[in-house]
Amino acid sequence: MKTQFNRRGALARLGGILAGVLALPVARTAKAAVQRVFVSSGAARGYDPSKHKWLMCIDVNKCIGCGLCAEACKKENGVPEGPYFRTWIERYIIQKPKPGSGQTRGETLVDSPDGGMHGFPESPVPRDQIEHSFFVPKLCNLCEHSPCVQVCPVGATFDAPDGAVLIDPKYCIGCGFCIQACPYGCRFLSPVTKTAEKCTLCYHRITRGLKPACAEICPTQARIFGDLLNPVPDDPIQKFYEQNRVQVLKPYLGTAPRVLYAGLDKEVR
């Protein structure tokens, strides 16, 4: 069979292709507009999750263990009463080694009464027997490769494009796999909703341009919250990198957390 080519036909075809290409974005915008009309939920407008990459930097040398962050988190997020925390503070007390034991350090005591929410009582070890003692604030480690997301059987927990690891409460079936998978113990089963709960980085705040409640309330700026994609002038995150040697928790697990710590000790898990 012989194909017939002429100028008119070729131009018409070219025009058709061009019109198709031009119509694509228009069609996409129209589809998005229609979706917006039908699926609006009153959430913060103008927030594009693909244009942010959140992270939290924690300076252990600055944490004074006041517990305001743990308390603020509970109030901000309506976390159930009792031993349920999205963020909490641990107190590490590393004792001096017994004389003649041939060890560099003694036993390590870790406690977190009420998640550190109401501060910490007097140290159970006398002052002269303490080698080091410090507070470590903990929260969701914002893993790049989140074990909790990998094990969820229903797609209820996910890595949002902006780096937050979130739970869809309507999809969670409360199986608890993610709670076991999280190597940092950052999840719990809510006694109220019977679904898994965790730090959302105060998603309702960060999408409105506010800091998470814990970072907002921290009196010594031990918690610094920032965006890797939108550096601000005189960026505190950049300063944090420059002034500190930075570590993550359990680096050997390959989870690549985006919660960075300065001043950690080898005893911290």
Partner: protein, 150 residues
């Protein structure tokens, strides 16, 4: 040559399989939420739903709208890193309606941070309260300008 004829039992099996797969596909279209797969293997609308919660803490910026004089004082002294709500408590209602006053906190709140504790970093100002003074903190210290005395 004899024409090939599909055995009826095989035909039934094929039709049954097609019906099962077909009904699965139809059910899937109806049962999958519209935004599932928008960003990944999850419901994209969940992001918006999580963001829809109303913030509880108003944030320092909100305080700055009316109390910029106090914030200016605060910024010049040792308490510059403090958020207003760290001491004054959740003040969202006050930020929305200035007539509703925020909770005023007393000296016990100072102790929360400044009571001596061996776990606190050495650079941080600490006191043993019972050896320090038995009166009110504010008798000697201005909370907004802690290095100055009233």
């Amino acid at each position: 040559m004899r024409r090939f004829q599909m055995p009826p039992q095989i035909l039934r099996l094929v039709l049954l399989t097609l019906a099962i797969v077909g009904s699965y596909m139809v059910a899937r279209v109806f049962l999958t939420p519209a935004t599932f797969g928008q960003y990944g293997w999850y419901r994209g609308a969940a992001l918006e739903e999580l963001a829809a919660r109303t913030p509880v803490y108003a944030g320092k910026k909100a305080c700055d709208e009316c109390h910029s004089d106090i914030l200016h004082k605060l910024a010049g002294d040792a308490h510059k890193t403090l958020s207003c709500e760290a001491c004054h408590g959740v003040s969202r209602t006050h930020a929305d309606d200035p007539d509703i006053l925020p909770v005023k906190l007393t000296g016990s709140h100072c102790i929360r941070c400044h009571e001596a504790n061996p776990s606190r970093p050495a650079w941080f100002k600490q006191i043993v309260v019972k050896d320090h003074y038995s009166g009110k903190c504010t008798e000697c210290h201005i909370p907004h300008q802690p290095t100055q005395s009233p």
